[in-house]
């Protein structure tokens, strides 16, 4: 590749060496493993939210209630599918990461599976109903943090368990499966993490994930100024890149949105008391296709010549991404823990936030006041949110173009990295 410059060469080298790291390889293989489940769950989620819920885009615009039979049954069915797939991603990640880490060190399936199982049990020790443990009642397991928000936690537990298991396996010489070793390592881990889990729920009232997300919230209570918006965006992107995939919400916003809507409905003209909020800028102009402007990534993938594997993921993720569910692309490409794609993932929303903030701040474009329907195609959010402002739609399209342009070179380099590093990676 003669066309790529020095900076690109450097990035590609970092990406390749990153991909060859044992830990990263295990994580990427685990992500590839759970991709079909994430895709299926996201599709179910998309249909449920956008087509069957009263605040869904297609529900409202296509009058779904008039022609779909057994609406309630369909909702129940899809919610169950989504809970069984997306709702368990953290468990699957913990299992798979631990499994793949051990896989390279042993031929015995028992050891590989046991490493995965130990990771799952360890993860569950942190997801248990606090009151049921402390009051000596029958134990109730929680499932709230096992979904997309828990992917990071799953990865961490998987890495911890997998590495320690591998370390023990490497210490033993015998070739045949050693029941004693399996028992020692497994029980060691389970006794240890059970104690840690008990320590956690004995001293903390919130879950580990809640700590992560509250760290997100405290500096940005009312980020009306551009630095607040940018800071929020950077932190969101960082979390998502690390694997905290769930939606992150900030308190204190609903009241301002309510006041904006009240002002528009009670007075003539489009005068908003709070034109610049997280909702009017970030949610509307920086989350096409999900957090991080993933719709731009999808366009870039489709425009880059020869990125076949990514294009296959792109085609599969097409529907959820157009409904602003980013999880399939995050897991499938993967964007999670990819240094090369992490850069545009951070920069694209920052760029669109800056441009949009400028336009809304100086009232070149009206701010959004109407409630946004779930699953609305990204660029249409602003148009419908402003009650049909063409300038808002134009701004959204500009934002889409900017984000595509930012993603484009990185997708190209990513493809180079995959071609150059692929052979070793697959081995």
């Amino acid at each position: 590749m003669q066309t790529t410059n020095l900076f690109a060469r450097y990035l590609i080298r970092v990406e390749i060496s990153w991909q060859h790291n044992r830990q990263i390889t295990a994580i990427r293989r685990a992500l590839r493993l759970i991709f079909p489940l994430v895709l299926l769950g996201s599709l179910a989620d998309f249909i449920n939210q956008a087509w069957l819920q009263t605040d869904g885009y297609y529900y409202q615009t296509l009058h779904v209630v008039k022609w779909v039979l057994r609406l309630r049954l369909a909702r129940e069915y899809l919610r169950l599918i989504s809970a069984g797939t997306l709702g368990l991603t953290a468990v699957l990640m913990a299992f798979a990461v631990s499994f793949y880490l051990v896989a390279s060190s042993t031929q015995h399936t028992t050891d590989r599976l046991m490493a995965g199982i130990t990771a799952v049990i360890s993860l569950k020790f942190f997801n248990v109903n606090r009151a049921s443990v402390l009051a000596l009642r029958p134990i109730k397991w929680l499932s709230t943090d096992l979904g997309l928000t828990g992917v990071l936690m799953g990865i961490l537990i998987g890495l911890l368990v997998g590495n320690s298991y591998r370390w023990c396996l490497n210490r033993q010489q015998a070739d045949e499966a050693d029941l004693g070793l399996t028992l020692t390592v497994t029980s060691g881990w389970i006794l240890g993490t059970a104690a840690l889990g008990l320590l956690w729920i004995g001293t903390q009232t919130t879950s580990v994930n809640a700590i992560f997300t509250s760290m997100m919230r405290w500096p940005f209570h009312l980020p009306h100024f551009i630095m607040g918006l940018a800071g929020f965006s950077v932190l969101t992107s960082l979390y998502q890149w690390l694997g905290l995939l769930g939606p992150i919400t900030v308190g204190g916003q609903s009241m301002e949105s309510a006041q904006n809507l009240a002002a528009v409905l009670n007075h003539h003209g489009w005068q908003l008391p709070h034109p610049v909020t997280l909702h009017t800028i970030v949610n509307v102009y920086a989350e096409f296709g999900g957090s991080g402007m993933l719709l731009g990534l999808l366009f870039a993938i489709f425009l880059v010549r020869g990125a076949h594997q990514q294009q296959r993921v792109g085609w599969l993720s097409l529907v959820p991404t157009l409904g602003n569910l980013g999880a399939p692309l995050m897991v499938g490409v993967p964007v999670i823990l990819s240094p090369l794609l992490g850069i545009p993932f951070l920069l694209a929303p920052l760029a669109t936030i800056s441009v949009s903030w400028l336009c809304v701040r100086f009232a070149w474009v009206p701010a959004v006041a109407y409630p946004l329907a779930t699953g609305t195609p990204g660029p249409l959010l602003a148009y419908l949110g402003t009650g049909g402002s063409w300038s808002a739609l134009a701004l959204a399209l500009v934002d889409l173009a900017i984000s595509t342009a930012i993603y484009y070179p990185f997708v190209k380099w990513q493809q180079v990295a995959q071609v150059e590093g692929g052979a070793v990676h697959e081995a």
Partner: protein
Amino acid sequence: MKRRGLFLLVLLVLLCVPGFLWQPHQAATVRANYRSYLDPIILVPGSSATQNRFNALVKELNHETPKTHSLLRVEVMTDGTLKYSGTLQSGDEHPFIVIGFQNHHDGYRNILKQAQWFATAFKQLQATYHFNHFSAMGHSNGGLILTLFLEDDLAATHAHADRLMTIATPFNLEEADPDVDTPLFKRLESGRKRLPHELVVYSIAGSKTYTGDGIVPFDSVNRGKYLFQDQVKAFTQITVTGANANHADLPENQQIVGLICQDILP
């Protein structure tokens, strides 16, 4: 490569088409589904009680709930002017608003007048605080005033009533004979079709003796079913006995405080 990008663009535009077609109807939909941030809980005391009647109850309720709600008291004078006391804190989504009357005497004619004054107060509060939905609780005749308001004046205010709780409300006044209909009951029954269909109603009766709470006959409270049943979204009747089950003590009855927390507070 161009073709794939173009395809995506065309698909994006196609998905936007329903949005463009729907957009002209959007404003009407938004307006119809709009609920103000402020969603007050309006409390109306019974006859002979003032706007201070519920001070203790509100204190008790604030003690029970995780968030403290502010209390605004309004006294409607006989000439229709309002006298305010207490505060409505900004940012409080569900404040309590007590509406009492300068003329708080009992009697059919007076209750009709009080319902008129209530409507006046409601419209003024609505104009000041811009709310378009609320829940309400009325003790004794307060429940009658609220029911009359819901039948006669609610539609004109364009507000949505979410939940109503009446406590020992005598829908047939003090009449204990089930075969006698008082003029008030006839009036309420004639207007029942105008009760909002989205409303959820709880009617609570106190039972001190086997026939009533000491003042209001049980049969009179029981008449509520002829007004609300099959007319509102849901109608629940509850009978409370035990300590504090006589008429005047009902709002402080612990069971009823629990029911208010559970059913009226959001």
